[in-house]
């Protein structure tokens, strides 16, 4: 395990039901195994009805709060492009954003009350704020492995394989294997590996 400076802050964003909590739990387990203090901040409830969901994942030697200040996230995993914009305020200028390009259109766009920005526009806007943006159609990638529901594992793979991510790939994989029930493990692992390959 590489030595961390002081802490890693990760923000995960998306919409209700996309599998953010599982990403957070796996990363939390990674932190605990590495002997760090771990804190995860999440919001349940109304957010489950297709609303915006954001989760804060923190690990390090000295961690107290389940959330972190604006501009302090080292990494973002966003399961949906619009939600990446919404959580962008937490990103550090030195951070890395990992983005699923598949939209989940809000009702306000569907009924024509609001316009939706294009993907290029979103990626361009994110690029101005942080070090690196890695984007892919993770949903498409997950479908190749049997289920669009494992899209979250594709993105987790991209994070684990990113050269700036300070935790060894094997540690993330180990936690994933522990967290996911045997029945659906293979499918999830394949999606994870696809993410790693992409990174």
């Amino acid at each position: 395990m590489k030595k961390m400076n002081t802490e890693i802050n990760i923000v995960a964003s998306g919409t209700g039901g996309q599998g953010i909590i599982l990403i957070a739990q796996i990363l939390g387990m990674v932190g605990i195994k590495a002997g760090y203090r771990v804190r995860i901040g999440e919001i349940h409830g109304v957010s489950q009805r297709g609303g915006s969901v954001v989760s804060f994942i923190r690990m390090g030697e000295e961690i107290y709060s389940p959330t972190f200040p604006l501009g302090k996230a080292d990494f973002m995993i966003s399961l949906e492009p619009l939600e990446a914009l919404r959580a962008l305020k937490y990103m550090s200028p030195e951070g890395v954003v990992i983005l699923n390009t598949r939209f989940v259109l809000p009702n306000t766009v569907k009924i024509g009350d609001y316009a939706c920005p294009g993907l290029d526009q979103i990626i361009g806007a994110i690029k101005k704020t942080t070090r690196e943006v890695v984007y892919l159609d993770a949903t498409q990638e997950a479908m190749k492995n049997g289920s669009p529901l494992t899209m979250n594992m594709v993105l987790l793979g991209v994070l684990a394989g990113n050269k700036h991510f300070p935790i060894p790939l094997s540690a993330v994989k180990e936690a994933l294997m522990e967290a996911i029930p045997k029945k659906s493990l293979e499918m999830n692992l394949n999606s994870f590996d696809a993410g790693v390959a992409f990174s």
């Binding site: 739990q25 901040g41 999440e42 409830g45 709060s65 389940p66």
Partner: protein
């Protein structure tokens, strides 16, 4: 990652949700009875406990409401057994009545009341600081700052309750209940589930006027014992090395203070006092601290509760320090604290500057692109169909009769009916309040008045209002949106489901019988997806003078999906026939199902989301929606 509480051994370090840690603390303490009514952010406490109830041989239940949960827990305590009840902050308002009297008699077995407050209204209709209930009823309040402490404090709360013969409040907030952290497991005490005899003591527990008065004197006297406990509590960290400025804090706010100090790294030393038992404050210790300092900043989540109590203590000093906080405008008041807001408070106090990140300006630009995202009903949700009908009735009544229908909302998924495109809902307060408010409006206006309530809320708080409406002759329609589950909080059973929290089959209480029992003459039960009949019956009810009830019933879409999955079945889904579709967008803009969307040249139904309710087909004026495959 499953909820592994009870299984993990003493000494293991595992990741837990704050609410799971509270449940684990109760299991470690040998809890014998646990009850709750679902409510975010508290629901997972009883869910976790119910999951381990068989293994650790205790009783867990979803009670019909918080008041009954508390009363039952009190009965258990009188048998000298340990009980815990958990609720969202609003639940405390329900237990206030029985709690107010029962504290006079006091408890036998440890009784812990967990309240999960929801600053920032993440999933609540109000912000409420339940620490005041401790002060109101003269019982201690413990406030954990993280999952580990949540477990330790829950465990200790049972002991404390037994030492002082009073219930103890554990006050969590969303950011503690719904945060995960590494928690070191402790030993589980398993208390036997046994039959015990009730030991009579009417002088203590049969509370009538004179006895109540004498027991109030007992309660006042008992405060001395509580004060002693508080002065020596390890949860209060008052160590402090003579700095002139101290931050006085508790709970989640303590974690923000620690993070803020870490980031600000002030050259001037600042003392941090962390309070674990926030009511009553350890006055003797606090006085000693206050004597030595010039400036105190109180950083706490919720109302300025400690700030007020601290000022009362300071008033006894010859030279009290300046005490700042929410009352003085130095700490954010309303909404929830954040590390950023606490950094701002502390840096203002110490005249420090904390630079914002250089990317924030570009981020603000990027944020201008974001369309708002509202929560929605699920694809196949029976409520969507009901709100489509209600919305149609509202428009038709306005057009044809020049009359506004007044809609009273209530608590549950169907609260979202006020969002576009339905926009149904004029007033919504708290559990079951809709019917009562409807009665008031119906009494003195000529509007058609429709109160809406879900099945869970109806069983919780709906029928006293209904009974009153019948008894006092109101003229209104009650539409019950019955999706046969407590959906909003995550699929808990209701008395109408015939299932308990522990997964045991029980009597199914049919709401029709309750409604008829209340004396309602007009009662219609309609399939929510039969939108034509639903509209007819609601319009019909307007012709009926008195209280009319229309039950719009079909299963929650999430539950249906689970049932289909279990049975290995796929729903018969719908598709759009492009040749017939005139792109009137009615299905999208009036009905609004998440499975339906618009692409450049056509309307699409996402077959992976469609549950086959068929309402879009009924809504379509061009007969362009058909069964797929």
């Amino acid at each position: 990652v499953v909820k592994r509480n009870g299984k993990d051994a003493d000494g293991d370090r595992i990741m837990m949700l704050g609410n799971e840690a509270i449940a684990r603390g109760a299991i470690e303490a040998g809890v014998q009875f646990a009850a709750a009514y679902p409510g975010t952010p508290a629901t997972d406490i009883l869910e976790t406990l119910a999951g381990f109830s068989k293994e650790h041989k205790f009783h867990a239940e979803w009670s019909v409401n918080e008041k009954v949960a508390f009363e039952k827990a009190m009965g258990v305590s009188l048998l000298n057994l340990r009980a815990i009840i958990s609720m969202k902050h609003a639940g405390m308002n329900w237990i206030a009545d029985p709690l107010s009297v029962s504290v006079l008699g006091g408890t036998r077995g440890g009784l812990v009341i967990v309240t999960a407050d929801d600053p920032n209204c993440h999933s609540s209709a109000n912000e409420q600081d339940n620490r005041f209930y401790g002060m109101f009823f003269k019982i201690p309040v413990l406030e954990p700052s993280d999952p580990q402490e949540a477990k330790e404090m829950t465990r200790e709360a049972f002991e404390l309750s037994e030492r002082i013969s009073l219930p103890v409040i554990l006050r969590s907030v969303t950011r503690v209940s719904h945060s995960r952290g590494d928690v070191l497991m402790g030993e589980i005490t398993q208390k036997a589930r046994k039959r015990v005899a009730f030991e009579e003591d009417p002088a203590r527990f049969y509370l009538t006027t004179s006895r109540s008065l004498s027991r109030h004197f007992w309660l006042i006297q008992q405060q001395e014992a509580i004060k002693k406990e508080v002065e020596s509590s390890p949860f209060n960290q008052l160590a402090h090395q003579g700095e002139k400025t101290v931050l006085f804090t508790s709970g989640i706010a303590y974690t923000y203070v620690k993070e803020a100090i870490k980031l600000l790294n002030p050259t001037e030393k600042v003392g941090i006092l962390k309070i674990g038992i926030v009511y009553p404050l350890p006055a003797l210790h606090v006085k000693k601290v206050l004597e030595k300092v010039d400036l105190v900043l109180v950083v706490e989540e919720g109302d300025p509760f400690m700030e007020m109590n601290l000022k009362a203590i300071a008033s006894e000093l010859e030279k009290p320090p300046r005490i700042l906080g929410k009352m003085s405008g130095h700490v954010r008041y309303g909404g929830e604290l954040t590390i950023d807001s606490v950094i701002e408070s502390i840096s203002d106090l110490l005249h420090l500057s904390f630079p914002t990140q250089k990317n924030q300006k570009n981020i603000q630009e990027a944020e201008k692109l974001i369309p708002p995202r509202t929560t929605t009903f699920c694809a196949g949700c029976p409520h969507s169909a009901t709100f489509y009908v209600l919305s149609k009735i509202q428009k038709d009544m306005a057009k044809k009769m020049k009359q506004k229908v007044v809609f009273l909302g209530d608590i549950g998924c169907y609260s979202m009916g006020n969002q576009p495109p339905y926009k149904i809902g004029d007033v919504k307060y708290s559990m079951g309040a809709g019917i009562g408010v409807a009665e008031g409006i119906a009494e003195f206006s000529d509007h058609k008045v429709i109160a809406l309530i879900g099945d869970g809320t109806f069983y919780h708080a709906g029928f006293p209002g209904l009974l009153n409406a019948v008894y006092n002759g109101s003229n209104l329609t009650l539409v019950i949106l019955d999706n046969s589950i407590t959906a909003m909080t995550g699929m808990q059973p209701t008395p109408g489901t015939g299932m308990t929290a522990m997964g045991v089959k029980t009597t199914t209480v049919r709401m029709e019988e309750i409604i008829k029992g209340c004396g309602v003459e007009y009662l219609e039960v309609v399939d929510s997806f039969d939108i034509k009949r639903l509209e007819e019956k609601i319009l019909d009810s307007f012709e009926h003078r008195g209280v009319s009830v229309v039950i719009a019933r079909n299963l929650c879409a999430i539950e249906l999906k689970r049932e289909l999955q279990k049975a290995g079945k796929k729903p018969a889904v719908y598709r759009v026939n492009k040749d017939l579709c005139k792109k009137c967008l009615l299905c999208l803009k009036s009905f609004s199902c998440p499975a339906i969307s618009q692409s450049a040249d056509t309307i699409l139904i996402d077959e992976s989301l469609c549950l086959g309710c068929g309402v879009c087909q009924k809504v379509c004026p061009s007969e362009a929606i058909e069964l797929s495959g």
